[in-house]
Symmetry: C2
């Protein structure tokens, strides 16, 4: 060994004895910035070893076992499952084909959650076309009765995801509206912004007293095809009717055989970083463990579970926080937020300092919104300053929380939204394409850094700031 | 009517009588530049009214009827079908799932053309992983025998599509190599550059004397999943073996039930723009009418048929060319170039001045390559100058022709390649995503303009230039 190196090594080995000051303890944010294998590892592991994990199924139960082991291995405390039961719906066979004056073509379709079954032989009916949900609402019953309603309306991408509630009405309640008007089924254009053949799944809801009808979503290219055939058939019919002869209208053969399995077990997974002050109210951070069944639930919401667990781990590693951090990996979010409701039923009366959720993919956090008591303005200021270097702007609108913390926020618990860039989120949302390769490790890490910075401030906030 | 307008109208109406010179006759290229509904209309019509048109099926026959009517309506002459018969293979049921130490997950798979059937109950076997086709070729039989071979190797995009022959070997002959080594089935990573769940179909070939085995392609995200599970299982096995216990290796359940329907009818559709000099040899331009069955064959190859027909129509409209232009919409290209072979059998002894084919999507022409006799150098120079304004560079390599004109070019017919930008071609090639929305109308029109300019020069070339 060259003399200089040997000397350096000896000096380093004897560092403490020579009274060289130890390096400063890194902050949680610095730990997160150094590299983050935790969020990636959770996202990769959950999608690889479990994959799709539909609420109420064995796959979701396997995900809970996986989660318990993983959160314990990360060193969290009070790691536990809180079981609940929920109505379980599972997909069956599904196919759709247009029958009209053209060569028969199969369409890619996915049944919507809570869809009724057509029975294995399927049903067949004339297409009643509606350009939007609003057009269906305005339509007279006679234009719908006995037909298969199709709801068009191509979703457009938006960074803040704000189109989801607008375009999503076609899925959320379109089939219910159609059922009340006497439709025999409803097929919608997927609530999605991509041009691939994988349909976007998702839940639909029928009012009490309305008998569910079969309901499915076509991929965007398949919806385009239906629309072109429908327009062409209508032109032919108009032309031919003038000649005294009317060809058949466009019809659809539809097979959807989902099943209701009745009440099944699901559960929430909870883990904690115990705070140093047992009297202080906890910070709750949430994601959901279940996923739709078509993809492996990478961006919805394995990455969210990875982000929040990684942030909590970094805060824990940097030193015990004052407040307890409670991690909630909720079950059965996609099919009705059953996990969020179960958490609220069990814990809604406990004090919570503030609630946050990560459930909008793995792309970067671009804005932070607050809904805090006036006393917490210094907290918001500290957080806005801490996340600013990572490209996050301070929003001017109140935070709205997320699905799993929705009941808590509704009940008055303060909330912060670390808003993720949703520009491409609805390309992937609830499709077969929601797979690990869609997670950008660089943006995933930015999420962890921003979450860690935020969580560190919240966990050490004073009782005067957050009650 | 104001006085000035009335005067103008009268002047225009009496234009000829007042001896105002008529406007110059537009060239074919100018006609193409004015707007081109023909290529779009053919692409849209074929994909909407017929859709997938697998060789030998009723859908391909419907496409031929559609083509005959369409080409006649465009005013072409000698529009006819030349029937031939070919071995017909059709897809059946298909599913694949990995069984190992993890939660079972379904994979998206598509059988390759000429794949054998697993039977409806499927087969099950251990995965033998190979990083590439070359690795499989180099492997000892014992590492493959009785197993399901998986061939990895992620295709990378290239503007000139040059990776297809390199990466494609895994599909073209990988299953044949595996069968000879005793594999029970072969599953490959799709020959494709995208990250969507639709697998890339395509033909595979077994040598005479080699018994076909089941062969399928996984989508890229599914291949990623298989690779991650395989690596993880191997790590577990290595670790556990050191402990004296070996867990099961990764296995796959595979169901592929394609069928051979025996000899069925297919056919070539031919149409002509008759030249003014019946002694001059014709220019032949080709595309293929059949498609794979997963998408609607928009970029492969409805757009090619639209481009060549539009170019021929513009040349015809501008005035009768000296040489006949023969349009070949070939049948059964995808499954073995049966249409190209049938054309050569019927017409290979006739003289052809030059052959061109459009079968690489609908993105812009970026380069022109020539393989012409020395006498035709002035023709090449004129074409290069004519297409230059539309962003086309002159290539330095010889043209290679296309599949359907392959036998002609092999026999010595001169060829010109109007090379299309293939950067995103293998995102879509043979997938469910090959649908109309992937065709960019602006780039489609550029193809028509470049083809029209080229075709006009070729159709009026002298006998001294092209024999």
């Amino acid at each position: 060994m060259p003399r200089l190196l040997a000397l350096t090594a000896a000096t380093l080995a004897a560092g403490t004895a020579l009274a060289i000051p130890p390096p400063p303890t890194p902050t949680a944010t610095e730990l997160a910035q150094r590299g983050d294998d935790i969020a990636w590892s959770i996202t990769e592991g959950l999608t690889t070893e479990i994959g799709p994990r539909m609420a109420g199924t064995e796959a979701e139960a396997a995900a809970r076992r996986w989660a318990l082991a993983r959160l314990k291995a990360l060193g969290f405390q009070n790691v536990r499952e809180e079981e609940f039961r929920m109505q379980t719906w599972v997909r069956g066979e599904e196919s759709a084909a247009l029958t009209g004056p053209f060569q028969p073509q199969a369409l890619h379709i996915a049944a919507l959650g809570n869809s009724a079954s057509t029975g294995p032989k399927g049903i067949e009916g004339e297409i009643a076309y509606f350009a939007s949900y609003d057009a269906l609402v305005a339509a007279p019953d006679a234009s719908v009765k006995g037909k298969i309603v199709f709801i068009d309306h191509q979703m457009q991408p938006a960074q803040d995801g704000s189109g989801y509630s607008y375009y999503g009405r076609g899925r959320f309640t379109g089939p219910n509206v159609a059922a009340k008007k006497g439709a025999i089924a409803t097929v919608i254009r997927s609530i999605g912004t991509d041009d691939h053949r994988g349909a976007h799944a998702g839940g639909t809801n029928f009012e009490a007293g309305v008998k569910p009808i079969p309901a499915g979503a076509l991929s965007n290219p398949d919806a385009d095809q239906l629309v072109r055939q429908w327009q062409r058939t209508r032109q032919m019919r108009t032309k031919e009717t003038a000649l005294g002869y009317t060809p058949e209208p466009l019809r659809m053969n539809l097979v959807l055989t989902p099943r209701n399995l009745g009440q099944r077990a699901s559960g929430n997974i909870i883990a904690e970083v115990p705070g140093s002050d047992p009297a202080a109210s906890p910070v709750i951070i949430a994601c959901h463990l279940d996923s739709w069944d078509l993809g492996t639930g990478a961006i919805d919401d394995a990455s969210g579970c990875g982000i929040i667990a990684a942030a909590a781990k970094h805060v824990m590693t940097a030193g015990q926080p004052r407040r307890t951090i409670r991690i909630l990996w909720a079950g059965a979010e996609e099919v009705g937020v059953f996990g969020g409701k179960a958490y609220f039923d069990a814990h809604g009366k406990e004090r919570h300092a503030v609630a946050l959720e990560s459930d909008f993919g793995a792309d970067r956090v671009w804005r932070v919104d607050f809904k805090l008591p006036d006393s917490a303005k210094p907290v918001a200021d500290r957080i806005a300053a801490a996340v600013m270097p990572f490209g996050v702007v301070r929003g001017r609108q109140p935070a709205s929380g997320g699905a799993d913390i929705g009941a808590l926020v509704q009940a008055g618990v303060p909330a912060i939204d670390l808003q993720q860039d949703g520009t491409r989120y609805f390309d992937l949302h609830h499709t077969p394409d929601d797979t690990l390769d869609k997670v950008d490790p660089v943006q995933l890490r930015q999420n962890v850094v921003v979450w860690t910075a935020t969580l560190a401030i919240l966990a050490d906030s004073s009782d005067a700031e957050l009650p």
